[in-house]
């Protein structure tokens, strides 16, 4: 146990260092690096947020719904002069509220049925956004004055999204190491057995779903305020939902760092490929990268670094909590 504690001390120190570096990056780099980080962080954040419900073994293909709801809420609010932070948070809250309502029926679905069900849900929300064009502007999309972006600039947005993603990550980590996390893990392993030991499955799943949607909503809100223009086909596109799943799985589901690594890796990979490889082949390489990883590292990228030990580390993490 002592060794573990030492380990975790070192780990903690290392993490602080990383954070410091991340926040200092803007001082040394050009904005275009920041812009790449901003977009990568948005999608990574969604991946981590997605993995919160993913912990329970539920594969949501509909997170674009929460992303989009957050985006539109924040847009509409800021168009009416609500300040940024409030817009972000309310965006998240509305998504969460929506998730809690639809969660009750939807979380009964299992496996692919849940996946496609949520996918359908996202499409319904998409159509609704088109239909309710009195508020959303429908297909014409929703725009904010250019000053919203130009007035703030990359440094501001980078710091903001970095902070958001760090919070998302911390929440994910915290969940993994609380009763909620254990419940989700139990549900993931065996839903019936879980309820036989007293886990109120729907309650915990709903909680996770709500938190996941809340964070996804905030990220959607950020996305909107960053681009200053969104259209339904864009914020509700299934590529956002599927992308999140891909990143999480690519990095390694059910762990906090997995989606984080997967998200950053895939985003940066595609960024680099698109800037330096002729377009057709960049897509090809991207596909090969994904297939290759799934073939040879089904556990995701983290299985390289942590591999077997990651599992034990996690458990010792839990043991820490049960002991100390």
């Amino acid at each position: 146990m002592k060794i573990v504690n030492l380990n975790s001390k070192i780990r903690r120190a290392f993490l602080w260092l990383v954070l410091l570096v991340l926040y200092l990056i803007p001082l040394k780099t050009k904005e275009y690096i920041l812009s790449i980080f901003i977009s990568s962080l948005i999608y990574t954040g969604v991946a981590v947020a997605w993995d919160i419900i993913g912990l329970s073994g539920k594969t949501s293909f509909g997170h674009a719904a929460f992303f989009g709801i957050g985006a539109y809420t924040s847009m509409i609010l800021s168009a009416n002069g609500v300040n940024l932070l409030l817009a972000l948070i309310v965006g998240g809250l509305v998504s969460a509220f929506f998730a809690l309502i639809v969660g009750i029926p939807f979380l009964r679905l299992r496996g692919p049925y849940f996946a496609i069900g949520t996918l359908g849900l996202a499409n319904i929300v998409y159509i609704l956004t088109l239909v309710l064009n009195k508020w959303t502007g429908g297909a014409a999309g929703f725009a904010l004055p250019k000053s919203v972006f130009i007035g703030r600039g990359f440094f501001f947005y980078y710091t903001l999204i970095l902070t958001i993603v760090i919070l998302v990550t911390l929440i994910h980590y915290w969940i993994c190491h609380t009763k909620l996390g254990i419940a989700l893990k139990a549900i993931h392993d065996d839903e019936d057995a879980a309820s036989s030991v007293g886990v109120n499955t729907i309650f915990y799943e709903l909680g996770a779903f709500g938190i996941s949607a809340f964070l996804t909503g905030i990220l959607g809100a950020f996305y909107a305020l960053y681009l200053t223009y969104i259209s339904p086909s864009n914020v509700f596109s299934s590529s956002i939902s599927i992308g999140a799943v891909a990143m999480a799985v690519f990095g390694g589901v059910g762990t906090t760092i997995g989606p984080l690594i997967g998200g950053m890796f895939l985003s940066l990979l595609s960024e680099i490929l698109r800037s330096y490889v002729s377009s057709n082949f960049s897509l090809l390489l991207y596909g090969i990268a994904i297939v290759g990883t799934m073939l040879f590292l089904p556990g995701g990228l983290i299985s390289i670094t942590f591999g077997r030990t990651s599992k034990r580390k996690n458990q010792e993490g839990v043991n820490n909590d049960t002991r100390v």
Partner: protein, 523 residues
Amino acid sequence: MKKALVMLLVVALLAGAFGFAPARAGNIVIQMTIGSTKAYVNSKEVILDQPPVIENGRTLVPFRFIGEAIGAKIDWDPVKKAVSYILEDTKIILIIGSTTAFVNGVATRLDVAPKILSGRTMVPVRFISETIGAKVDWDSKTRMVTVTVSVKEKAPVKIGAAIALTGKYATSGQYYKMAWDLAVDEINSEGGINGRKIQLILIDDQSNPTNTANAYTKLIQENGVIATFGPFTTDCTVPAANIVEKFKVPMLSAGSATAALYQRGYKYYFGVFPPTDAYIPPIMETFNSLKDEVKTIAISYESTDWGKELSSKLKDAFTNAGFKVVVCEERENGGMDYTPLLTKIKSLAPDAYLDAGHTTDEILLARQSKEIKFNPKIWYGGLTADYNFLKNIGAKDAEGVMGSIAYSSNAHTQGNRQFVDAFKKRYNVDDVEYHAGIAYAAAQVLFDALKRAGNNLSPEAIRNAIAQTDMETVIGRVKFDNTGKNMYSFMPLVQIQNGKYEVISPSTVATAHIEFPKPAWGR
């Protein structure tokens, strides 16, 4: 400018039959013989009005000839009796009859002073040449002086764009790339902008706005582009415009037809793609001429900002003109089955049917209209005038279909023929897609602006040059209003008649008379 011409000459000569031309590309070789009026610039004969002479061991040549030959800016000050050469950063001043010359203001000793022979100023060739770093050879047998000026390549002018080369809109995206690549090669083969080659950097954004944002930031900051072309779709254009606005780098967009964009008050954003309001006049001209036959109108539109905007403008225009719009239906963008929509509209039996949509949907709409035998008197599909429509549906079924078109390969616009031929030749295609035409026009405008901006290629200067644009392009005249919109945006109404696109409105440019009513499908 002169240097550019000389360069061009070199290229021309090397390419041409003058096989013996000794000069390497990038070099100017001047050959002259003492006492002979025949001189050669890169083996091209030039007749001197005063032959070179030898003045105590030094060759004197007419100052204007040598100056022009080496591509220097020359000047003659009759008061001070001084001649001056300016070549890049070197300025040489010689005073007639004085053995003191000034190189960038520093007095320098000459062995022999410049003098006037029968009204021509003669200057020491070796001094001039060596001061500007040229090599001078003297052949005593042939008494020939050979001056070799080596011209160093100038840094290219970098421009950039993000465009969809994979993903949802790859099909349209590729046409932009094709047109821009062609335009860039053309201008470079003509010697580029003031002797500087154009370098175009393209990044694939997969029509994902965040990718677009990253791409433009990278282009401006890492690649140091001084001007940009716009991306495709409004989703991507807004963030891109935000970024060029932030970095004050001009953008010439050919990728968004949304009029709303011009209300965002961009200073550096200019668009050549005709915005939706340009569609209306030609359409109305035609419809007004058919008031007796056409009373009821059905409209459908793809659920994009463009489709929504266009359809609402159509609807208003028709209602104001006293037509009855029986339905204005939004529809999926890029679907499979439009039969429900068409059946619904057919049941309303409108005289005319208009859809605001893109090629693939138009193709399906046409096919499925045929399948359910929906034969209105007018069948208009927003962008059916894209030759892909004709190609994917066949002349027989396309007969009588109408559409609007921002660019047509058989329009009699300035330079269009050459462009079309060059495009077909280079990519070995049977026609030019309209996106390519618009993209090419954007390139024409930008390059013209760059030329006008002259040597001062600061983004600000380029921006102002673009703002002052007033020129003929392959899509017609381009002149920007203060919102950056092309005030001559032109969207003629065309109809497919025996497998060809004929302009039927506005009458000023009409190539054929309207075929009305549209024959039943496949007739």
